[in-house]
Symmetry: C2
Subunit: 357 residues, 2 copies
DNA sequence: CTCAAAATGAGTTGCGCACCTCAAAACACC
DNA sequence: GGTGTTTTGAGGTGCGCAACTCATTTTGAG
């Protein structure tokens, strides 16, 4: 009836006795210190295996005694999503200080590779681990690899540099996110045929490009009745996004779907509702006359738009989860503990009105 | 440029000095031990506040020295979702034993209130905390309250007993989950009108009833073109689910949507694909002839059905997250640490083909 | 067999805190 | 002022491990 998953009470002393060596030797093996014969190493490791012994993390942490410092290198500028991540880091402060962990945020222009690389370079002396919202660029990759070589743990956050030797990536697969957006737009449009608009910040941003790629993939293969219009670039600004989209909506009367890849949501929504108003003047349109609108991230704004029915779905990555996962991964790396991949994996959330978090 | 979120290096000794008292007195205040004048208590607490001091968890854990034991009271029988939770608990074994935490699973008939209550009664002697998949019944509520009175931490898992004094609920809002399912069926059906079928395990199960309630709520208020047929009860069994659904599909040619509330997914899918085959014999039907199928949980089966396009969406609660959240909450309760509500909250996930985890 | 190098044992210290004891001091009451 | 009670101080012990020193033993090379 009761199945035991774990039982332990052993200490290093027990391992030493079982292996027939002293505590000092076990310690040497455990921390890969030199001066132990290979055969002895094997005997100790066997004893550890046999008992599936795990050093008591609390004791280890206490004995090690070092306070660890982590840096979060984040974009300067008023990005609401990044702000959310920082807010959630702030909420962890009690948790962090109870573990003697220091987390500091370093704001920098992550969009300028040389500035970002320069910001990273100096950090390895001051920090045990670094989480960075990274631009995928050779200079940045080199800076990351230098940090890793210097013994600093590095995780990329939200935006990855797969070619670097970073230890971990905390974020979503943006191609899959784009595919998800495409499937949603296509399915929610239903049997209607028509055109689909895309508003992005810039196609030069890796994450935006990947999302667009995934989106187009799905549209082409599964929704032949929908034709995708050339991507509009709104630079993640409300004003410009509104402007370019309004012009497009004016030119094409048969737009049935809209994918907003990045920020600038306020402007996009404005252009869309203006259009709806105009049409209402002409005919009393039902749901089927409306444009299906899918965007990214759950912010105060998108939350409101979802509740109002202006927006149909938001593709989201949980910023709180990302903040905590990054800290946990850095901590696990610093302690030499294994990473719980399943726990740290960031999911692509589909958020609609009724499952708003 | 660098903003400090946390800095600490203080110890209890520093607090004692600042408050002008001895270590012993600080200890008394910290652990609510008697024998300290109110005025002194205030001074000590002020010193703690002033420095936002947090006791070092590792040191506290080590000094306290107690190994903690938690029990997970789960349904016996082959429920794949519950099996997943247990699997994820198993994956944590390293993490658990490194913290000297023992987690054991207790299988019982959670659907029989007296059996469940009896299982719970004996547990408070052996365990510091208990997670239970609870049936909402007065007897069970009483058993939970008894455990709480005995000083045991209790969290309800997946299924709640809101009227009890359990410390926490780890699971989703099933009404909102039903609403989400309703919105998905309605939106994916599009402009078509017709009938919608519901297959549940039993309307007597609180979670199923709540989901159905939420589902109907949305259908009634937002999709007047769709009429919901009486709920079929499949007892979460494949055979029976297939049978009742097949009969319904035979009687109503204009079924355009299907909501499977619980298990029995295999049977539901079978009935659905048989119908599709029959129709294909008559006319070469496009997507618009198909039945929109929304169910719950991501298992090997639903994953396959989503990939095949048989199923359109699965409403899911992350079993790994639930397992870990339950453990973390029990641990936080045992240690007297605060619970990170945001972290432990279980979301309603919408899983479609392209965002399959 | 000799000697240096390598491997190992034995032991110490301290991390920060919980928990305990015992004595001293402060206080309240008559 | 004396007595009993409450409050406080001082100190010790140990949790399990990391990190270190120094003495001793074993090993391998010559």
């Amino acid at each position: 009836m009761a199945e035991t998953l774990t039982t332990t009470a052993l200490t290093l002393k027990d391992i030493a006795r079982q292996a027939g060596v002293s505590l000092a030797t076990v310690d040497r093996v455990l921390h890969n210190r030199p001066g132990v014969r290979p055969d002895t190493v094997r005997r100790v490791k066997e004893a550890i295996e046999r008992n599936s012994f795990q050093p008591h993390v609390a004791a280890a942490e206490l004995a090690r005694g070092r306070a660890r410092r982590f840096a979060f290198v984040m974009p300067s500028g008023p990005n609401p999503f990044m702000q959310q991540i920082q807010d959630y880091l702030g909420e962890m402060s009690g948790w962090l200080s109870a573990r003697r962990l220091g987390v500091e945020t370093v704001a920098t222009d992550v969009f300028d590779p040389s500035v970002l690389a320069a910001s990273l370079e100096g950090l390895s002396d001051d920090y045990d681990g670094i989480a960075v919202v990274a631009l995928d660029h050779p200079g940045v990759r080199a800076a990351i690899d230098d940090l890793v070589d210097a013994g600093t743990s590095v995780v990329t956050l939200v935006s990855d540099v797969p070619s670097s030797r970073r230890h971990h990536y905390v974020g979503i697969d943006n191609i899959a996110a784009g595919r998800t957006a495409g499937a949603l737009v296509g399915r929610l449009v239903g049997q209607r045929s028509g055109k689909v608009a895309i508003v992005a910040g810039s196609q030069g941003l890796r994450d935006h490009a990947e999302r667009i790629f995934g989106f187009n993939q799905v549209m082409a293969s599964e929704f032949p009745g929908l034709s995708v219009l050339p991507v509009l670039e709104g630079r993640d600004e409300d004003g410009r996004s509104e402007q370019v989209l309004a012009r497009l909506l004016g030119r094409h009367a048969d737009i049935v779907g809209l994918y907003n890849v990045g920020a600038g949501t306020q402007g996009v929504a404005k252009a869309l509702s203006d259009k709806a108003l105009n049409e209402k003047a002409l005919s009393d349109a039902g749901r089927d006359k409306q444009v299906v609108f899918v965007g990214h991230d759950v912010t105060a704004l998108t939350r409101r738009l979802l509740l109002q029915g202006v927006m149909d779905a938001a593709i989201s990555q949980n910023p709180g989860h990302e903040a905590r996962a990054a800290v946990r991964v850095l901590l696990a790396l610093a302690r030499g503990e294994p990473i719980l991949r399943e726990q740290e994996k960031i999911r692509i959330d589909i958020v609609m009105r009724d499952n708003l978090p």
